[in-house]
Symmetry: C2
Subunit: 345 residues, 2 copies
Amino acid sequence: MKQKQRYFCGVDFGGTSAKIGIVDEQGKLYGTERLAISAGQSYEDIFGMVAHCIRRRSRQLGANLTAIGVGSPGFIDRTEGRVIQGSENLPAFKNRSLVKYLHEDFLLPVFADNDANCAAAGELQFGVGVGYDSFVMITLGAGVGGALVLEGRVFRGTRGLAGEIGHICLDAHGPFCTCGSRGCFEQYANAAAIERSYREKIEKRRGTPGTGARGTGAPGRRGSGRSVSGGKVSDSPANGGSISAESVFLRSRSGDPLAGEVVRETAWHIARVFGSLVNIFNPQACIIGGGISAAGEQLLQPVQEYIADFAWPLPLEGVKIHSAELHNDAGVLGAAAQCLDRLKS
Amino acid sequence: MKQKQRYFCGVDFGGTSAKIGIVDEQGKLYGTERLAISAGQSYEDIFGMVAHCIRRRSRQLGANLTAIGVGSPGFIDRTEGRVIQGSENLPAFKNRSLVKYLHEDFLLPVFADNDANCAAAGELQFGVGVGYDSFVMITLGAGVGGALVLEGRVFRGTRGLAGEIGHICLDAHGPFCTCGSRGCFEQYANAAAIERSYREKIEKRRGTPGTGARGTGAPGRRGSGRSVSGGKVSDSPANGGSISAESVFLRSRSGDPLAGEVVRETAWHIARVFGSLVNIFNPQACIIGGGISAAGEQLLQPVQEYIADFAWPLPLEGVKIHSAELHNDAGVLGAAAQCLDRLKS
């Protein structure tokens, strides 16, 4: 007998919106809907709106939901789905359960996890992680998220706080991080770091972007994010003043050697972290997700090259380096995918 | 009905001997026996001798064995118990299974794992790890071993090679490590590093050990392990020339300020690694084992202090730092304990 199709709802909270979609077991997404959220809304307002949307969409689709999965930034408590920390943009969520309201409303299993763990669940169920039993994943964006898939499941740790790969210490005397520690991986590989690094290279070498020529003036101040010596610096893209991390990758592809250096340096930091994690976990794969992972081979190739400097050859044997496969809808797909992961007995 | 007592045999291979003992489920060890092994002996010779000893001891004890556990240095393959790498002292083991001979001989379940994983199994079943569901463990000695206990079991990774915490990169430009990478944790916390650090401090500061006085000569060459500038350096313990890591800890306890600095620096590196691991795993505890862990509070106290610099406060909440509890017989107890760990369904 053919088994009945199961449907899951994914709710992906961002800083200013919730994105909602219904997904089947094969990862087919039946459209998404974005609800705007303002910082002033109450917990009940937000979840009332979300519940209404879920109910309407599942009725339209004629889909009986099996479970609902919620993804959110921050530290999410493992047992109650409480937001313990890190939801500054949605103050109504602080210390509230992301599970309770929807569970009471739908009388269904509801799960919640942070966005990086959801992203890993998404790749594991529907993306490049299908078929792997173990991988480490990082998500590169404004922050650097991380997640571990061990023995076929997302590993969540004692309280659900595991996976903070962005906060491995790379330099105990490095720049202070948002977490309060110094020299965390995040400080070397998030979007701001990529942008700053490119801007500084341009300013300090005094060349035109794309030439890589070394200038003659005094070097700019290190770590200031903006040179203050030797004249005015404009914000025009011509000197990299307001260049996004994505466009640094674009410029590298177009042959800009300074952008190329930044990409390789970013890859080097990623390779260092992956190398240590290969030694610790002996995984089958390392996956790069988040907006920056769209760079694809441009980033994977140097990571693949540099990782040999940091991993023991034996556990590195056969380890694959991938970009995430779920792109625009990774948040909703991942939030839904965690249901499949967590319903495993 | 009272359940029948189960007995396990632990076989702990070192570089020149095998230590064998029978252990009950409560961790009571019924004596141990040490068999000398020479590098020239064949696989069959070694295991024939080991099997004979196991048979004799279990008969004397009237104990029906439930399983046999083998511990060994090196990378041990997860499925077949093969020594893939790292048994240079026992060339007969290279690429041979540590499980096969004993299994064929006794027709019992036989398990094999590397010594650090066994040490963690020992603490989990019989030591300071009892009652914990998750912890990270390092063993400090000639090398730095590591192991992860996750969700109540030793985590072994895809091929059984997981846990190489000693090979987390602390400085990508640091000294080359035996593994081929640079700046591994092992290079900052093994016995040789502790000894060298103490020796260099004494030589470079030119004071009498215990005074910490700074000398007037040129500083010694960094990383050479021996100062070559400014006169002859003898190997007498008076200037630290042949001081063991253990005695550096002893000297620190007796108030030697240079030894105290070395202990604190060692603790700082350990805290850095534990801090990153707390962020990655969200464990309940961090355990320090190996010979150096006998230092106890002397090492734990500064690790406890420094770890806050490296871990996110939330996952660090409630994390305990312990010394291992199993000392002299940790190898045999751990080798036997892995049977309990691996027989869990």
